[in-house]
């Protein structure tokens, strides 16, 4: 579109000259940020993309989908609107990220062809002129192209077309050349003979960690994230990332964390180089661990937390902290397992149930309005007669935060049935004014 036309369509259009060099520099900075936060193998994919090898790194973020959401969410917070996709190959992820209507997408393994078939030819990373020529010949989608015999196409368009197609379908390797920031602390080992056995890998991990820890100690740093990059003889690069809750340079612990991940490394025909990089390091001062003069220190559980976090994901380990809110489901928040003690608690003048349902379950009740507990209620098809009850405990909506809750009210009751089972139920609304709620009853928690 010509600039004059655009200006006519949008009054007050802000115009900037294109600056491809600066764009590329910005892309590189973004790639560095992703390298530190998310994945060890990252490369800028100019003009508008970043390619990430997420294998061996997504476990720290709770899986592939959660990792994509985290990346997109963080970028959105800093004002960058981005789209992301995970697929079996670079080409497929490139196409899916740009030509699907969703901002994040995780392709199922082995369904690349099915997913790519309906996408337009532009998704194949071909030169513009070639795409135009193919369109003239009547090809519309990648599926159209894939169904054709290869030889005539190669004769007409050269080897590039077939190569791009194979790369997208994952039939041809397309290695990522990862960015390597200057000044990283790393330890490297090149092997005269390729190694493959798990025990050998473990032994050299131990040696690399010792070297790296010495380097970290010389600078007074502790590692927060460690990347083990494994170069195979067939020019494949694999990466293993481990994350620590607190900076550490304890060689034994780091070795253990890395050795837990050996089973994810596929040595293929052999490994010729292993590089251990401290992707993210923070200052770590020496401190006295034990002294006979002070009382026993609190046990150090950061090692255990790291081991579990690297096995099941850092988000799956958390502590609960109190939030000043009367609404039960908002009165707790997750904080990192190794966060400093908050010292906070909840007011304990009302008993709280041991189990809180994620979503209050509607129940059928017989109750006198406005402020009597129900005489009986039916939950999950079982009718329970209420023998004893306590309440109501009135919870008001947080009108100072949310307009929709200006008048909302919940009346909580603790009820006990004939068998002695105790439940936490509430009525939406105050029992008199329909504006305060629907006056329907819900079961929200189970007491012990």
């Amino acid at each position: 579109m010509a600039l004059a036309k655009a200006q006519m369509l949008v009054p007050g259009l802000s115009i900037h000259d294109a600056a491809p060099a600066e764009d590329e520099e910005g892309l590189h900075r973004l790639a560095l940020w992703i390298l530190q936060r998310f994945s060890p193998l990252v490369s800028a994919d100019p003009p508008d993309g970043i390619v990430i090898d997420s294998t061996g790194a997504d476990h720290l973020h709770g899986g592939e989908g959660a990792m994509l959401d985290a990346i997109i969410g963080r970028l959105a917070m800093s004002g960058v609107e981005a789209r992301a996709a995970i697929a079996d190959s670079w080409g497929a992820a490139h196409a899916l990220a740009r030509h699907l209507a969703r901002s994040t997408f995780v392709a199922e393994r082995g369904r690349t062809l099915f997913l790519l078939s309906p996408l337009p030819l532009e998704a194949l990373r071909l030169p513009v002129t070639m795409t135009a020529d193919l369109r003239t010949l009547g090809f519309r989608t990648i599926g159209d192209l894939h169904r054709q015999p290869r030889a005539p196409l190669a004769l007409r368009f050269g080897p590039q077309l077939a190569r791009r197609l194979d790369q997208a379908l994952g039939e041809m390797a397309e290695p990522i050349d990862p960015i390597q920031p200057l000044g990283q602390i790393e330890a490297r080992r090149v092997f005269a003979e390729p190694i493959a056995a798990a025990e050998t890998i473990a032994r050299y991990i131990g040696k690399l960690v010792t070297t790296l820890c010495a380097a970290l100690e010389a600078r007074g740093l502790g590692a927060c994230r460690l990347d083990l990059l494994v170069h195979r003889v067939d020019n494949r690069l694999q990466a293993v990332r481990v994350g620590m809750a607190l900076p550490t340079r304890d060689a034994r612990r780091l070795t253990r964390l890395l050795c837990d991940k050996i089973e994810t490394i596929d040595p293929g025909f052999g490994i010729e180089t292993m590089v251990l990089v401290a992707a993210s390091a923070e200052p770590l001062a020496m401190k006295q661990a034990a002294s006979s003069l002070v009382e026993a220190a609190r046990p150090d559980i950061s090692g255990l937390v790291d081991t579990l976090a690297n096995r099941i994901g850092g988000r799956a380990l958390y502590r609960m902290a109190a939030v000043a809110s009367d609404v039960p489901e908002r009165s707790v928040q997750r904080i990192p397992a190794m966060a400093p003690d908050t010292g906070s608690g909840w007011p304990d003048h009302w008993p709280r149930p041991a189990r809180l349902l994620a979503r209050p379950d509607p129940i059928e009740t017989m109750a006198l309005l406005p402020d009597h507990p129900p005489a009986s209620f039916t939950w999950q098809g079982v009718r329970r007669r209420v023998r004893r009850a306590d309440g109501p405990e009135r919870v008001f909506g947080e009108w100072w935060k949310r307009d929709a809750e200006l008048e909302a009210v919940r009346d909580y009751f603790r009820v006990e049935d004939e068998a002695g089972e105790r439940y936490w139920i509430y009525r939406a609304g105050d029992g008199e004014d329909p504006a305060t709620g629907s006056h329907r009853w819900f079961l929200h928690g189970i007491f012990g």
């Binding site: 099941i312 908050t342 041991a354 002695g420 012990g448």
Partner: protein, 250 residues
């Protein structure tokens, strides 16, 4: 007298056969003579695995069993790991059972296998107060692994058995390596002179204990320090002054 020494001798031999599994790391008494008298050593063995489940509806939600476990964990020293698959535990209730939020680290594992692996890792650490693992299916092998992992430390391992369907609860009858097995069911609460719900009561069954007999107790739920209590009308002495009114809300 001779008989007594012979029995002591035999017990020592059995202990030797059983290896380290005999809890020599001490015990954690409940502070209730009724209960402690039934447990070998006068309390819940430290450095051992214990199984807890709920009765009736409690086999699915395990609410009372969770609070019972929280009360035990609250009385130990050190951090507590709570490993679960379904994150529906409400932290304020644990605080009311004596377990402040800063002491508990929750581990959300995807499935039973991961729960077992995480629990074993946590039990092996050795300096934790207690490890609670919410788990449905636990084979003899799995419980043996957990028991071996926890031996020699002062950590209490609690396997909180919780199933998806009530019918699966028959799994609780399978053999186990755990030192004790408990089943906690809700009972109608302590009567109050006014309308309302009094202090919660549980029917606590000691289904199995190694080197001891099973027993059942009717007890009042944990107070803010994690202590259970014997209901006043059942105890053979009047309840301590002030305890009743204060704990009625708990």
């Amino acid at each position: 007298m001779r008989n007594a020494s012979a029995i002591a001798n035999l017990r020592a031999q059995i202990a030797q056969i059983e290896g380290q599994s005999r809890p020599n790391g001490g015990v954690l008494p409940f502070g209730l003579p009724v209960v402690d008298a039934r447990l070998p050593g006068g309390g819940l063995a430290l450095g051992a695995l214990h199984e807890v489940t709920g009765g009736g509806q409690g086999s699915i939600d395990a609410a009372a069993a969770a609070l019972f476990s929280a009360g035990i964990a609250a009385r130990t020293e050190g951090p507590v790991f709570w490993i679960c698959t379904r994150p529906d535990l409400f932290a304020p209730s644990l605080a009311q059972a004596g377990l402040p939020p800063d002491r508990v680290i929750y581990v959300e594992a995807g499935d039973d296998k991961t729960v077992l692996a995480c629990a074993e890792e946590a039990l092996r650490h050795g300096s934790l107060g207690a490890v609670v693992a919410e788990i449905a299916c636990m084979t003899m092998t799995a419980s043996r692994r957990l028991q071996l992992a926890v031996e020699g430390s002062r950590t209490i391992g609690l396997a909180l058995r919780r199933w998806r369907r009530p019918a699966d609860a028959t799994d609780f009858g399978q053999p186990t390596s755990a030192v004790t097995r408990w089943r906690i069911s809700s009972l109608p609460s302590s009567p109050l002179p006014v309308p309302g719900v009094g202090r919660h009561r549980w029917f606590v069954e000691l289904v199995r204990t190694r080197a001891g007999e099973s027993a059942a107790f009717e007890l009042e739920a944990c107070d803010e320090q994690g202590h259970l209590a014997v209901p006043a009308e059942l105890a053979d002495r009047p309840v301590a002054t002030g305890g009743w009114g204060h704990s009625a809300v708990g």
